[in-house]
């Protein structure tokens, strides 16, 4: 009986009560505020196109969140993997392809996931039109990577280089490829470059 009046019991029961109430509250809130993969995708599409875009089932080429087993496997390469590939704005042989690409070899072996929009005409890739950030893993210096880094991928002068087998690199000494470094976040920039390189590899088939 004395145990129930002891300070030990009071301490443990107080901490347990707070933990239980907090846990219960957070369980309810995490269910209410859950962001599904579909919602994340539609947010990204809205960011790319400025308005929500619906993708019909036949225009989904790859989607790792899909229940369809034939579409749920990512396309892997040396640079990373393509986790989602959608055909959007299909108008005969002209359309956009939107990729969710995860680039490898970032800081501490982490990754960066980008959305990349490629414009196709006559079934041929014309240029990378837009690149936006989806998420990053283990990259603590993402705030250093600004709009200039993403815009570099969409410049007209580099499109010809993709066709000639060039890819993006953050390495200043690697002059054979297209330089796109970020001072102070070179590893993270490397992962970002690799995400786009996955797309270049898929569209232009350089390697």
């Amino acid at each position: 009986m004395s145990f129930f009046k002891s300070i030990w019991f009071r301490c443990i029961s107080c901490l347990l009560a707070i933990a239980l109430i907090s846990g219960g509250l957070l369980t309810i809130l995490s269910n209410l505020l859950y962001v599904s993969p579909e919602e994340r995708t539609s947010r990204a599409m809205a960011k790319i196109y400025g308005a929500p875009v619906e993708v019909s089932a036949e225009n989904i080429i790859v989607d790792i969140d899909s229940d369809d087993a034939s579409k749920s496997s990512p396309i892997t390469s040396n640079y990373g993997e393509l986790q989602k590939i959608y055909k959007v704005n299909v108008n005969g042989e002209s359309f956009d392809m939107v990729f969710q690409a995860q680039g490898n070899n970032g800081y501490k072996g982490g990754t960066i996931t980008l959305w990349v929009k490629v414009v196709f005409e006559n079934n041929l890739p014309i240029k990378i039109d837009k690149v936006i950030l989806q998420s990053s893993d283990k990259q603590t210096l993402m705030s250093k990577i600004g709009g200039d880094f993403y815009n570099r991928f969409t410049l007209d002068d580099v499109t010809e280089d993709y066709k000639n087998g060039k890819v993006f690199t953050g390495n200043q000494k690697d002059t054979a490829n297209i330089l796109n470094p970020v001072s102070g976040a070179t590893y993270s920039a490397n992962a970002g470059n690799n995400a786009v390189n996955c797309v270049i590899d898929y569209c232009w088939g350089t390697n």
Partner: protein
């Protein structure tokens, strides 16, 4: 005892400003002030957690045994930080992405634990809520001002709006963060010293006038 809200407000924003006077919460201050918007976002998130945790700590101050008060405070703070994370991820994904790692780190922000321990655990609910609000405001103002200065000098923009092409990359770097922080603390102390000297001078002048008038009467 009557709560002096004016004193709490002045203490929170000026006299005990958590960033510029108490030098607490320096990790997000240095890391996130590359943009003014980040400063506002982080400041408001901390303000919400400060108000909520102060209110709850104040409500439970007689129920929590003093031996486990710190783990109990951390549990309470962690709960509110998780709520902020969930809300931001759902409704403000851009801000959520830009705050990144520093959002969960609010749990170990010294400002919040310090106010829970030094104020909320000893004061009534309303005063604790006011303390959380004004401490949070002081933190937000300091972070936003630092963010604005660093964004203008480091990126030539303010709140994402480009002002000019002139940029000093140093201000966007970590070293620039320390430098800007030091300049801000120096300016804050200078202004505070000038104000306190003026106040003392006025008090001295009043005291002298009072003494001389008393002497004349005698």
């Amino acid at each position: 005892m009557k709560t002096n809200f004016k004193k709490i407000a002045v203490d929170g924003v000026v006299k005990q400003n958590p960033t510029l006077k108490l030098v607490l919460g320096t990790c997000p201050t240095l890391a996130l002030t590359t943009l003014a918007m980040n400063g506002i976002g982080m400041g408001l998130a901390v303000t919400f957690v400060l108000i909520c945790s102060n209110v709850l700590v104040s409500l439970l101050r007689k129920a929590i045994p003093s031996q486990v008060r710190i783990p109990a405070f951390v549990l309470i703070i962690a709960t509110f930080v998780t709520i902020v994370r969930l809300v931001l991820e759902k409704f403000m994904p851009d801000l959520y992405d830009s705050l990144g790692l520093y959002l969960p780190l609010i749990v170990v922000n010294c400002v919040i634990l310090a106010r829970a321990e030094s104020f909320a655990s000893k004061n009534p609910v309303l005063a604790s809520a006011a303390d959380g609000l004004f401490m949070g405001l002081g933190f937000t103002v300091a972070l936003t001002l630092m963010g604005a200065v660093r964004e203008i000098l480091g990126a030539g923009a303010i709140f994402g709006v480009k002002l000019w092409d002139f940029q000093i990359a140093f201000f966007a770097s970590s070293a620039g963060a320390f430098f800007t922080y030091a300049i801000f603390i120096a300016i804050f102390c200078l202004i505070e010293n000038i104000i306190s000297k003026n106040k003392k001078r006025k008090e001295f002048a009043l005291a002298t006038a009072y003494t001389s008038s008393n002497t004349e009467v005698k």
